[in-house]
Symmetry: C2
Subunit: 496 residues, 2 copies
């Protein structure tokens, strides 16, 4: 937190948040009537950043510097009294654990802006920030000890099965009973959200923020605002949140279930986000679909240039290789059913199946998102409200994450071995996953010219068993003929 | 066996086998040089049947009568000495257990010709009749106590992993070392095959006979005979085997892996079989495919008029509903991977997974085939050679078969309930299967106007738990939130 809200400080760390607060008029509707922005300059570069009204006569401009050294700024506004302020700060090296925002590094990979590899191990708590404070604190405690480095979460509240409690505050002034003022965002709502985003940042968790969703059906009306309000909402949101380095923009959850929006609307929203965000945070969109009927699957065309990566809901991971090739962008299967016991098909797979889907998706070069849906008497279900994790998969996801953190950052699916999905770097590293398949042995076609150490990995029991000796060329590897096994082969260094 | 080979007997049971044996010339090549046939007449009907040369100067004509009453026949031949024989017999009612050949009864169903419903519970022992006699007897013993009522088996021997022993006899005279005489079938080979087909018939098992396959690659050359030999082979085979009521014609196994045959060849083979078989036994063809890559899936167009039902290799059962609609014919997923521990992906699923695929496919209105591939020191692997069954799925398949034998014969997939595959008859019967899904409860939308008894079925532990009382309308059914459960709801009779 130390450096997160510095005004006119001498020093801001790289990818930290520099904030200017100025007093100004509060009459009329400053949210819409007052234009405010700042020019930030560093050497040859200029970055134009929009400010926002924070209520009570307070205006703010937030900025995330991405280069070390001296930055200067000057403020301009449609209102004389806000115009002309200027200053400077020094951008110093990032502190430990701050690697910058996550970027797409290649057709397969993400990395933090400082080059550190990033593999998404996401979870889903759609409206955890709309619950009472004690539950929010419990969610943070669960995340602190959990394996996740990304969370999908909504700006708007959600009304759905096991989730019908009315939140205290909303992105707009008003309430369900009294209606909303679509011209006045609620700054307190946003300040509370921002606090949670900073807390996620401290835990090393990316906030994959969902900007629209269909779980409203007119109850509040956030799913059917007019085009002007949609655009106003997006610009205000981005002015407030864009400078937090751990933000991703998920344009929607189950976009195709929103009957009031067209494909043109989604294109337009993408362009607004792309134009408004000075930092070009990651952008994607998540599809709904009848999960039991692939013929109804509706996808947004992720090959469009403003989509940075593929966000997918699908219950099989086998198409991952094909999606990677089709779109030429990293693939995140953000939803593949949830571990739990709901009556609904998407919410009642076992921890074993969830774990298998994670391994399958990662071995195919994609990444996979988690969610949990166990019924409980408090009706606090993780996937919606956060709270406690009860399932068997998070410990296994932590184990997988550890295995992959030991893998080369540039590992890709190895096509020649794809009868069992294999992630690797030819000549260096192979991680082959068998899922439900139970071979008594496998013949692994390793390169002839190098020696490899081989481990058998029991992905469910989280056990790594190294084999004796080293292997080269076509190598028979005996296996326990049980499900959920993997083989890892790592080239032995020159010194061996 | 009693009625299977009757010559000029006074009585033959319906769908039994009536056989005429006549002596004739043995010089030259009677297999190809001598034309022999008979006209069978019953009331207004005439059936023309081809005979065949059985070696040693012996000629035979076989006939399966399908109507009770008096039949007469007259023999004609290109050779004077075989010409003109005539006679008659009386076709009497079928004995117990003889329901006639299996027919397609509707877009979803098979039935025996006497109307008894038939659901295929197939297994696969490709070349069990090419093994030494002791193994063949062991296979029959396994089948006797097993759950299967169909077996996929090849006319030609097979050369493949775990299957490289040379058989003693072949469909043509000769051997691999000396070559084959493509103009002379080996009658002793066929007599041995026929004995096995009759033994299967006694066990109530349909012989789904595979006429071509690619597991030869020129070793013997049965996969690359010329067009004339292909046609001669088919006509001879059909003349010999067509009168056995438990024969099905599977044009090929993995037809698309036979690089010497074209789609036109397969059409031609279908038409030869269709024209030559007086009994119109069931006809289909089985696809190969790269099992790990759906994009390489090549299907024969099962909508062609000479295809009676869909025979499919696929490792997922979820498309079953779509195939049923697409083709308007019963769907048999003859291969969906095998229970076992081979290194190959298609041969190493668990018994639990095999059982789940059976339930899934049947609940979707199709049927599913079994195979077993456990490595063993004798190298007698069920899927290829028969022998012993070692797996965990056959007992569960028997349990499923019993459940389905208690179901209405005309049960079809219920589309309105397809978020979990459901087989049933609206208002009468519902069988809903959850597979890997673990709901803690389900709300089953039963009709309002009838009462139903409900059972919870644990498909793996083979346990049926009846619920107390009766249900109508939208009914909450509590479940153990464990995988592999099913719900059965049966309408209570009027007298209740």
């Amino acid at each position: 937190m130390g450096n997160e809200h510095q005004q006119n400080a001498c020093e801001v760390e790289r990818w930290g948040l520099f904030e200017i607060t100025v007093a100004g008029p509060s009459e009329g509707n400053p949210f819409q009537d007052v234009q405010l922005s700042a020019r930030f300059e560093h050497k040859h570069r200029t970055v134009q950043v929009e400010g926002f009204y924070n209520g009570e006569g307070q205006y703010k401009i937030r900025f995330m510097p991405d280069s070390e050294g001296q930055w200067s700024y000057s403020v301009s506004s449609s209102r004389e009294e806000l115009n002309g302020a200027s200053g400077s700060f020094s951008c110093v090296p990032a502190s430990a654990g701050n690697h910058g925002p996550v970027r797409v590094r290649s057709a397969y990979h993400f990395a933090y802006e400082d080059g550190t590899p990033y593999r998404p191990f996401g979870t889903t708590c759609y409206v955890w920030t709309h619950q009472e404070a004690a539950i929010q604190e419990q969610t943070l405690a669960s995340l602190r000890t959990g394996p996740f480095n990304k969370i999908r979460m909504c700006v708007f509240p959600k009304r759905y099965s096991f989730n019908t409690n009315e939140p205290e505050r909303f992105p707009f002034e008003g309430s369900q009973a009294e209606g909303f003022d679509w011209t006045r965002p609620d700054p307190i709502y946003y300040e509370q959200l921002e606090q949670r985003i900073v807390q996620l940042q401290e835990l090393g968790i990316e906030a994959d923020l969902i900007l629209f969703h269909p779980y409203d059906k007119g109850h509040w009306g956030f799913d059917r605002m007019d085009a002007e309000t949609d655009a106003f909402y997006l610009r205000y949101l981005i002015a407030r949140l864009g400078a937090y380095r751990n933000i991703w923009w998920s344009l929607a959850n189950e976009f195709d279930f929103m009957q009031t929006k067209t494909m043109d609307d989604w294109d337009r929203f993408f362009r607004i986000v792309q134009e408004s965000d000075p930092y070009q945070h990651l952008r994607s969109i998540h599809n709904g679909t009848k999960m039991y009927d692939p013929s109804t699957l509706v996808l947004y065309d992720h090959s469009k240039p403003w989509v940075t990566h593929v966000s997918m809901q699908y219950w099989e991971l086998s198409p991952t290789n094909a999606w990677l090739k089709q779109y030429g962008k990293p693939v995140v299967v953000d939803e593949c059913c949830y571990e739990g016991n709901l009556p609904q098909r998407w919410g009642n797979i076992t921890g074993m199946e969830m774990t298998a889907r994670f391994w399958d998706g990662f071995a195919r070069g994609g990444s996979v998102g988690h969610g949990e849906t166990f019924l409980n008497s408090e009706e606090v279900v993780w996937w919606s409200k956060g709270g406690e994790l009860r399932g068997e998969s998070p410990a296994r996801i932590a184990f997988l994450r550890q295995i992959l953190e030991e893998a080369p950052g540039h590992a890709e699916p190895i096509d020649r071995l794809r009868d069992a999905p294999t992630l690797g770097v030819e000549g260096e590293y192979y991680l082959q996953y068998f899922g439900i398949h139970c071979p008594a042995y496998r013949e692994l076609p390793l390169p002839e010219e190098k020696s490899f150490r081989i481990d058998i990995i029991d992905t469910w029991n989280m056990k790594v068993t190294p084999l004796e000796g080293t292997y080269k060329g076509l190598s028979r590897v005996d296996l326990p003929a049980a499900p959920y096994m993997a083989i890892r082969a790592v080239a032995v260094g020159e010194e061996q």
